[in-house]
Symmetry: C2
């Protein structure tokens, strides 16, 4: 009895603290400074995000790292100290276009040399649009080590979204390997090829639950470790929440659901969506969505939040979190079994969601009605010198060691292959339903050079992998731009008929988009951001295996490059003397 | 019957091949070029040196890496390409004094910036003395990842050693952790402190045998993997072998023995030893010895070669190899149980070996009879800000990120602490048999500056660790020099009486020497090699935890530093403009 009263007093105090916190948050946004400075330190720590102990790269001791909260127009300054022992580092600001600051994109080999141990690198950029963005390592397969987080950009004070909500929350979904990314990457470039296989578990906001009985002893995996207690999202009955959900999986496409609660999708990759309601939200690596949920269910209990793998035969422990109706105990398990998503191989459901996403009325940015150039990207697998690779138009991308931004700007033509990569593939003869024959597969670090301010159409054409009757989903992410998603289709893209079906009225703009199995996705963007920009499959192993390209546009308009991005490859000692 | 005849024909062919090989080897030494160029590529590979699969850094696909064989006076050029994904690299040439080339010492933070992924760094140095030397990574705890090998320097043609042998063979002993060095290092700098514990197995020339029943499945550990079949040393009955043995253990002191064969010790760290015979040879990390063995036992069988941990309560699988009497099958197990070394805690046996090592008559380099400076180094443990550290005179060494060679030569005084570190400790009051109280422990990157050409005495004074009644053996390794080993003693060094007992007649010269538990070791060296040189405990975790110092001498005589060693810290973009 005494205990109970004590508990409820604790609860009231907690509630008051919550109210005070919300108030302070409000005050701080009102008094928002225009420059937001962060001091971050990246280092290895032992963490057990899914109860299994692993070396994790943390930021200021945390994984996911600190959330960056800012207002539209703010300048973000992150002083990132690399406190790893022998490893370099780079962090990409995913979804931030870096207009005027292409050197702050954080993409090793493209926009900068990696940050060496002991160094502090300063990223400085403007968050010029409201929305939900991400950050993560962009170097080798380092993202898999847990160095990632959320960027939440709010509207300026006084402005409001075209939808109402009481509170704003962010969560990131990831999948999680128990092996280090060094281990995974080594397997991928071995002969024979060692595939990374399915991740061990899914994490919701950095927390998962691996079945420890599958491993050797509590020293390695301890189910009672508080680090892997499920993430709890506290809600106050009756209130509406904007839930910003991002996926930074290494491999997996996900379905996300909240038991007993519908979700209204209102934002995708920073753009307002014509609202639609889902029970299951599909997310591909690199995508963000905002959904609205109202805590309108029986308030005497908690509800499960779950995420599970789709698109691949799942062999990964589902992610489980708790929607905690205040004042129930946050750890109290819901009385019902956790909801599971739709069956993993129901591709049509996922295509349907892709098709449902349109720009919101009143917030439509109409695309140019024609384009200046069309590039078709055939997505296939190849084998080059006995090593399994992914390729685009039968060319597998390799990273140079001098960042393109520097070598292009300063015309260091020796630093990468100057022959333009192919604009398409043999559309007439190539059978996308058959395993590739690989007779023409090559690897290259050549780049696509775009006319400044031109309108470019990109057709992502999916095909069969090197496994019979298999085609995978690839989420393609474009740096430095948003693109209009003009259409999706099944089978081989017809360059005469399919463009006529483009949605040129209210296409959504995004920075990451899936190409579905054996399907195509058509994008359009303006090459209006001077710099050099990666465009790649956001699956960590796929990009590592060559599934990406690089675009250059308006390099002559890029200002003086900061010295801090140099120090490797041909610019090891700074720029060569002319 | 047919099989047997076939076998013996195979054996004869093998023998002929062996003879041909020995002949070719002889021819090639006669025609020895003065410049020996090597192209090496370092990368991660999955290897199972003790049957347990681990990520290993290989050189040209091998661990141990290729043996460097050269003649006295040759110039060695190693073009080392770093093909690691995100990690930097540096390789130290252990025992090579680098006279005139201090920038080729390969010590990260001291002689160079680390080599970045994709870069090729060229080491160039002269092997000016015959003898047995080693190479290994010298960056963080990277040596533990398997990147190491042998350097064998022969006398010029026409000259011969003062001892006779028919064949020359090299083997390296190491201990082996199953965890990555990232994992071990992270534990060591954690709060609470996570000690690396004992290694899982001992490797002889890169091969060991872990008990796979202790791990999860043959995917992880496979006892039948040929990579972990025991190393076989083939001998021809009646012949005498010079066996060059080096230890590059991470933690362990070793005893080494060959069943049924005495070993005559003739060389230590490149210097001729007054021969003595042992059944067990003790080796500390960083030491090399040459022993002579004669294949004079029953030739109808093979014999075990074993190594086991001494000095620490062993919990490491012994190393096992086979002395293969030709023409027995190389994999045929000897019929007797493998010999074990003496009991691990018999310190007096080990001290006796230390005392037995003297310079060989006719090859004595007489030391200066007096010294210009004496420095006493108290070896203790401390705790600094909650982190367990090793320290020297209560100062725990920390690495700077600008290499000392550059910062000292170019007077970049901001790059390290300019206050000289202590020349000794409170000899009168400090109780070496008690746990340290740590009231004065600090960490620092200050260095010892020596007068050029002065004679320096160093007294390594051992003491109790932070565990009651515990003192450990530390093998100290000096870069850039050999030192005379003037004496060893028990307990606290007496600065009045003990110098009178120094061996100034025929002390051995070495580059690595143990200080025994609760004992002292006295060294003398000439500060005659312009450069900046590390002097540290060769136990990987101990140096990482601060057990080292740095000496500078004659910096003004160091020539123009090559640009290739720059690119980090204050010299990220090269030397600062004056």
């Amino acid at each position: 009895m005494v205990d109970e009263r004590f508990q409820s007093r604790k609860c009231i105090l907690k509630f008051l603290a919550l109210v005070l916190f919300a108030f302070l948050l409000h005050v701080s946004t009102v008094e928002a400074a225009k420059i937001r400075r962060f001091k971050w330190e990246a280092k290895y720590e032992h963490k057990s995000p899914d109860c299994f102990k692993k070396l994790v790269i943390t930021i200021n001791g945390r994984s996911p790292g600190p959330t960056i909260s800012a207002h539209q127009g703010d300048t973000i300054i992150v002083e990132l100290k690399n406190s790893l022992l022998t490893e370099n580092l780079a962090i990409h600001w995913h979804g931030i276009r870096q207009i005027g600051t292409p050197w702050s994109d954080g993409t090793e080999g493209v926009s900068q040399c990696p940050i060496m141990p002991g160094e502090t690198f300063t990223y400085k950029f403007v968050v010029d649009r409201p929305g939900t963005y991400l950050y993560h390592a962009h170097y080798g397969m380092q993202r898999d080590s847990g160095i990632y987080g959320s960027i939440r950009v709010s509207l300026p004070d006084g402005e409001s979204e075209p939808y109402a909500y009481d509170y704003d929350r962010s969560i990131i979904l990831t999948d999680w390997y128990h092996k280090s990314f060094h281990d995974l990457a080594t397997g991928l470039s071995s002969i024979p090829f060692v595939w990374v296989k399915e991740p061990q578990s899914l994490l919701i906001q950095g927390k998962g639950k691996f079945n420890c009985s599958l491993s050797l002893g509590t020293d390695v995996c301890n189910a009672t470790n508080p680090e892997c207690s499920p993430y709890g999202l506290i809600v106050i009955p009756g209130k509406t929440y904007r839930l910003r959900i991002g996926s930074l999986t290494s491999l997996s496409a996900l379905s996300f659901q909240i038991e007993g609660h519908n979700m209204t999708v209102v934002e995708a990759d920073g753009h307002n969506v014509e609202p639609f309601v889902v029970k299951n939200l599909f997310l591909y690596s690199g995508e963000t969505y905002s959904v609205l949920i109202t805590a309108d269910q029986d308030p005497s209990r908690n509800y499960w939040i779950t995420t599970n793998v789709v698109g691949r035969s799942p062999n990964t422990t589902d992610g489980l979190a708790i929607l905690n109706y205040y004042p129930n105990h946050p750890k109290r398990s819901p009385p019902t079994p956790p909801p599971t998503g739709p069956s993993w191989n129901n591709t049509s459901l996922r295509v349907a969601q892709s098709l449902a996403i349109k720009a919101r009325q009143g917030y439509i940015k109409t695309p140019p009605q024609t384009s200046d150039r069309m590039i078709v990207f055939l997505n296939t697998q190849n084998e080059i010198n006995g090593i399994r690779r992914w390729s685009v138009n039968n060319v597998s991308f390799t990273h140079p060691h001098t960042p393109y931004l520097i070598s292009v700007k300063h015309n260091l033509t020796q630093e990468f292959d100057q022959t333009p990569p192919p604009n398409g593939y043999d559309i007439v003869n190539y059978d996308i339903y058959k395993k590739p024959t690989n007779s023409n597969a090559t690897s290259s670090n050549a780049i696509y050079r775009l006319d400044f301010n031109s309108t470019v159409d990109v057709i992502l054409q999916n095909a069969n992998t090197m496994v019979t009757d298999n085609s995978e989903t690839h989420p393609w992410h474009l740096h430095g731009h948003d693109f209009w998603v003009l259409g999706y289709g099944d089978g081989k893209f017809d360059i005469y008929k399919d463009p006529k079906k483009y949605n040129l009225v209210n296409p959504i703009m995004k920075n990451t988009v899936p190409v579905h199995p054996y399907g195509w996705t058509a994008l359009r963007f303006k090459a209006d951001n001077p710099g050099v920009w990666a465009f790649h499959c956001h699956i960590e192993s796929h990009f590592y295996m060559g599934m990406g390209v690089v675009f250059e546009e308006g390099i002559e308009r890029v200002g003086v490059l900061p010295k801090s991005i140099m120090g490797c490859g041909a610019v090891k000692g700074g720029l060569p003397k002319p």
